[in-house]
């Protein structure tokens, strides 16, 4: 089901309203799902929801909130920062009554450390940024322009950058240059190799893989059973 959550007011004093996609039946385990970002968000959206569907069948609630500036959000993406997304993820966890967190790819960089959970194929800020800037330099070259990695990084720190159609502000670029996912107590890594296939974020177009979605849901259910037992 789709509903909304209210993000607490920021400096400007206005509370925001964001969408949540949830399988919410008031069960005891409620997993906050923090999705992949930018281009990877599109490529992994269906996979992410397929995992949630399977968690639902396994008796586990899951909640996928939009972070400000993402998906259906009305907030401008270029004004978002990593720090604010961290706060937003924490606020969503509190408001939605999450008991666990499943952070996917770059989502692991903003996973609340107060909840136990899992990082699936965690992505670091520098790698994320490198891939996006590289795509831009290659596209520029095809268009007969010449842009360098260093030049774009410098520009990005000062004025922000549009990378693959995603408008990132200077603060976000600077934060991504050093941000690493950190495993908080109670967090564990689930590497892509545990899912038995190549990561769907690698594909040129969004794709799906029922087997991989099943593997991830099963790993989570097993991990929950072990902790409970």
């Amino acid at each position: 089901m789709i509903f909304t959550w209210n993000i607490p007011a920021r400096d400007d004093g206005l509370a925001g309203e964001e969408q949540v996609l949830g399988f919410d039946r008031g069960r005891s385990v409620r997993v906050l799902v923090l999705p992949a970002w930018f281009d990877e968000a599109n490529k992994l959206r269906r996979f992410t929801v397929e995992v949630m569907r399977r968690l639902d069948s396994a008796g586990i609630d899951s909640l996928l909130p939009d972070l400000p500036g993402c998906n259906e959000s009305l907030e401008p993406l270029e004004q978002q920062t990593l720090g604010y997304w961290r706060e937003a993820a924490k606020a969503a966890a509190d408001l939605l009554g999450a008991t666990h967190v499943l952070a996917i790819r770059a989502g692991a960089m903003v996973a609340p450390d107060g909840l136990p959970g899992w990082h699936y194929a965690a992505q670091s800020g520098p790698k994320l940024l490198r891939g996006m800037i590289r795509a831009r330099t290659i596209a520029a070259r095809e268009a007969g322009k010449f842009e360098t990695y260093e030049g774009l990084t410098t520009l990005g720190r000062e004025a922000g950058l549009v990378l693959g159609g995603w408008s990132l502000g200077p603060a976000m670029i600077s934060e991504l240059e050093t941000a690493e996912p950190a495993l908080a107590p109670g967090h564990s890594d689930i590497p892509q190799t545990a899912l038995g296939g190549p990561g769907l974020w690698l594909r040129a177009e969004p794709d799906e893989d029922a087997g991989q979605a099943e593997s991830l849901a099963v790993l989570i259910a097993q991990s929950l059973a072990e902790t409970a037992g």
Binding site: K127, G131, A135, I138, Y149, G164, P198, A204
Partner: protein, 102 residues
């Protein structure tokens, strides 16, 4: 993450070939058999519809990760991406020598 410890002799060459084919198959969502059939002259950029600029970026980033190499802007040219043989030669040149412990 897989790294290739040494690159001397035929076994290492075969390992690099296997790694690179697997990597291309993963990035482009190709059948393993299709990638396995790649030869030196098999066309890549401009020949495979899956390989657009975003996918090239993904491919290069995966190569850095899995082969433990660093690819600079200046390294990326039409020649290295045009054929499978070109990409393999590029990967080999990045790995051997000197070996980078990264």
């Amino acid at each position: 993450m897989t790294t290739l410890p040494h690159l001397d002799g035929a076994p290492a060459e075969a390992a690099l070939d296997r790694e690179l084919k697997g990597l291309i198959a993963d990035v482009l969502g190709l059948d393993a058999a299709q990638a396995e059939a790649f030869g030196p002259e098999t066309g890549l950029f401009g020949h495979l519809p899956e390989l657009d600029s975003m996918a090239v970026a993904g491919l290069l980033t995966e190569m850095e990760d899995r082969l433990g190499i660093v690819i600079e802007d200046d390294d990326v040219d039409g020649e290295m991406l045009e054929t499978y043989g070109g990409l393999l030669a590029f990967a080999r040149s990045k790995l051997d020598p000197p070996l980078d412990p990264r």
